[in-house]
Symmetry: C2
Subunit: 211 residues, 2 copies
């Protein structure tokens, strides 16, 4: 869908008065951008004599970051496809009581599906931040600011994906699902804060800047 | 350069063991992604009877967000071109004293140029966050989570661009330029925090979530 579009086209469509691509897709794309910087930092570390002692661990984190990047790129398009269903359900006729019932059921079903892509993105970003926190300790320090960019965008992507889960929860009537999902994203948020703060403390020290 | 590449190609190149595209380019791209969501929210507001009273102001902020998005897309490529110069300077020979002097001078000149793209990105993101803070008050509230995504990515892009200014400041010997630039980015950071916090308080209230 948009994975093989130009950035220009993707952003033109996202900016327009069309429901998709929307916030969930853009959040996933931003996370993928961030992960590319963690991959670059790892790729400037592996195969270098100086970092031989941590080679195995860096390779492991590189694999995790590449997986996260590619998962997020897929979710960028998955969100766009899923959200189109929500939009279609809201567009259903609502004149007769039967139409109203059918429309409400279709919206509820579509919201559950639409919530899945940003929820998966929250999980992937949480894993990505774990990998980034491991990398900041062992990757080539010349790339420290790039690891920082990975953490900043991973954090923003997670928060943005979480917002897109929450907006769906807002409309959902299944109380159990709402509670379970809210607990999961709130837990991910706690973990993200710990990892992002740890990475940024290290990065800011490395570049001699301010947070 | 990458503006008309596919996202896949841009991210493959960014992930690889090549110096560019690096953190400054990725920061600008993430900011552009965020701004597309502010544009979408504005585009779902203008021309609607319900929001007639704020039409002029929304159009003004839409123009500001589109300008920010396009400026950031240009900076994405400008950073890549500028950073290639730094990389070339570091690769200069350093055997003789003359070579060392020439290399140091070339690095210093390239760092000043390379700092310019992320510094411009900091300024654009600051303006973008101002426009987003104005929009959150008046845009179609159905798009509130998208305005939130714009603020989250605008904030992360500003911080990531700032990090890329700081890594260049780290290597710069011109004390006056270092001081002047640091004062500017620190001031932008203070302003960003105010705007981002204001937007997110409003957004989180709107979606019934947690920050």
């Amino acid at each position: 869908m948009y994975l093989y579009s130009t950035l220009r086209t993707y952003l033109e469509d996202a900016s327009s008065a069309k429901p998709t691509p929307g916030g969930g897709s853009i959040a996933a794309a931003a996370g993928a951008l961030g992960m590319s910087m963690a991959c670059m930092a790892a790729n400037f570390t592996v195969g270098k004599k100086k970092f031989k002692a941590v080679e195995g661990e860096v390779r492991k984190q590189l694999d995790a970051c590449m997986k996260a990047r590619d998962d997020l790129l897929r979710l960028m398009d998955e969100d766009t496809r899923a959200y189109a269903e929500v939009s279609a359900a809201y567009g259903m006729p609502k004149e007769t009581p039967e139409e109203k019932t059918a429309r409400t059921a279709a919206i509820q079903a579509a919201l559950v599906v639409a919530m899945d892509a940003p929820l998966k993105a929250v999980r992937v970003c949480r894993d990505a931040l774990r990998a980034t926190a491991a990398l900041v300790e062992i990757a080539n320090p010349n790339l420290i600011s790039d690891v920082g960019v990975a953490a900043l965008l991973g954090e923003a992507a997670l928060r943005a994906a979480k917002l897109n889960v929450e907006i769906n929860l807002h409309g959902l009537k299944d109380k159990n699902l709402v509670e379970k999902t809210r607990a999961e994203i709130d837990e991910a948020a706690v973990e993200w804060k710990t990892h992002a703060a740890a990475v940024m403390t290290r990065v800011v020290k490395g570049v001699g800047g301010t947070v």
